[in-house]
Symmetry: D2
Amino acid sequence: MNRSEFAFFHPLRVRWAEVDMQKVVFNGHYMLYFDVAFTEYWRATGLPNSQVQAREGIEMFLRRATIDYQASAEFDDELEIGMRCARLGRSSMTVQGGIFRGDTFLVGGELLYVYADVAAKKGVPIPTAWREHLATFERVAPETA
Amino acid sequence: MNRSEFAFFHPLRVRWAEVDMQKVVFNGHYMLYFDVAFTEYWRATGLPNSQVQAREGIEMFLRRATIDYQASAEFDDELEIGMRCARLGRSSMTVQGGIFRGDTFLVGGELLYVYADVAAKKGVPIPTAWREHLATFERVAPETA
Amino acid sequence: MNRSEFAFFHPLRVRWAEVDMQKVVFNGHYMLYFDVAFTEYWRATGLPNSQVQAREGIEMFLRRATIDYQASAEFDDELEIGMRCARLGRSSMTVQGGIFRGDTFLVGGELLYVYADVAAKKGVPIPTAWREHLATFERVAPETA
Amino acid sequence: MNRSEFAFFHPLRVRWAEVDMQKVVFNGHYMLYFDVAFTEYWRATGLPNSQVQAREGIEMFLRRATIDYQASAEFDDELEIGMRCARLGRSSMTVQGGIFRGDTFLVGGELLYVYADVAAKKGVPIPTAWREHLATFERVAPETA
C-alpha cells in the first residue's frame, strides 16, 4: 500500500503496553488501531456515529477482516493510519486501512462492515444520505456494488 | 466451520474486560484468542516453542490473518477454540482456527505464519522433524505446498 | 502475603500479549487478573452475579485499588490468584487478592468495592443474605465494620 | 484532586475497546492511561528514557500503585491526565496522576517507582542530574525524602 491511496490519516503513538517480548506491537493490536482510526474517519466525515446509536437497534458490525503484516511497529513509534471507504454495497461497506511510519508501509487491513438490525440479524440499507456524503468525502468515490 | 474439522480445542472463558458496550467481545480480541489457542496447540504438539526462541534469531511471524465474524461471543461464555495446521509450505504454515460456543460456530480465522530469520528478514525452512511431527499430530495431515 | 491466607484460588496462565518488552506482565494487567479472579470467586460463592444485574440499576463498583508489586510474572507462567473477602461494611466490601507462582508471592491487591445505586450514585446496603453467605463461604469470616 | 495541582497534562481520547458493558472505561485501563501519561511526562522533562534503557540493566519499576476511582470515563471522552513528581527519594520516586474530563476529576493515582538494578534486584540511586532536572521541571519542587 501507498500513502497516496488515502486522503484521511489518523496519528497514533504506540503505547508501551502494546508491545510484546519480540519488541514489536502484538499482532492483534493492529485491529484496535484500525478500530480507533475508523472511529476518527467516521467523525471526520461528519456522519452520525453508527456504533453508539445502538438504542435504535441498528448498528455497524464487522463481518470480515483481512490483515496483511508487512513490517512491525515498535514502542513509541508515531504512526499514521490511512483509512478510506473503498466500496459501498447496499447494506455493507468495505473499508481499507494502511498503517505507515513515515513513508514505510507496515500493516494493511480490509474491513467489511455490515449495517444491520441487531434483533432481526438482517442487513439494513445504508441511508442514501450517507452514501452521497461518503462519496463526496472521499477523493476517489467508493466503488458501488 | 464445523467442530468436526478440528482435533485440538482450547477452552477459554470470556473476560469482563474483553466485552464492549455492544455486549459482545470486541472484534480485535478474537486475534488474542487465536494467539492463545495457537500457543496451546503448539504446546500440545510437543514441538519446541517458536516464539520464545528469539535469542537464536529465528521466529514464527504472523504474515496474514483473515477473520470471519459469524456470531458474537458474550461475557462469561465458555468458548472452545479449535486449531489445526491446514497447510505446510517450505517456510510458512497456514493455521485455521474456529471459535465455538457449544456447537455454534462464532468466529473463524486463517493465519499464515512465516518462519523467518529476524535480522535478515528472510524465510527459513521449517525443520523436517517439525513437519513430520505436525503431520503425525494432525488427524488430517496438512496439505503440503 | 502468604498462600495460607486464602481459601479460594483461581488458576490463570500468562498470555503472550500480556507481557511487555521487559519480559514481564505489564503492570496494569494485574488489575485484569484480579478482576477475572473476583468473577470466579463470586461464582464460587454461589451468590447472584453483581455485575451483570445492571438492569436493576444496582451494581458493584470499584472505589479504590492498591496494588503491591513484589515480583513479576512472566510469559506462560501458571499463576494462582488467591482471593478473599476481608471486610464487609454496610454497603462496601474489601477484597484481598494475592498472585502466586508456586509458593512465590508476586503481586498483592486490596480492592474496595461499593454496592451502589447507579442513577442516584448512592451506596445501597449489601443484602443480609449475601453477608451471611460470604461469612459462611470464607474460612475466616470477614471483619465487619 | 484539582487541576491546579498539575503543571503537565497529557490529552487522551477513550477508545471503544476500553469501555465495558457498564458503558464506562474498565477499571484496569486507568493504569494504562497513567503509564501512557508517565511516558509523555518523562519525554516532556527531556530526561533520557528509563524504560527502554534495559540494555544497561537499570530500569524504573513500579513498586506500588493506588488508584482512587471517583467517577467514570466514557467512550469518546477527551480526557486530560495530569502528572507530577510529588516526591523524590534516594532510589525511588512518587508520581501523582489525575484524570480529568474538563474540570471534573475522575480518577487519581499514586505510583511509587523504584530505580533498580534488574539482575541484582537492588535499588540504585537516581542520578543527581535527574533530580535537579525534575526539581526545575516541576512548578512545585518534589518533596525529598
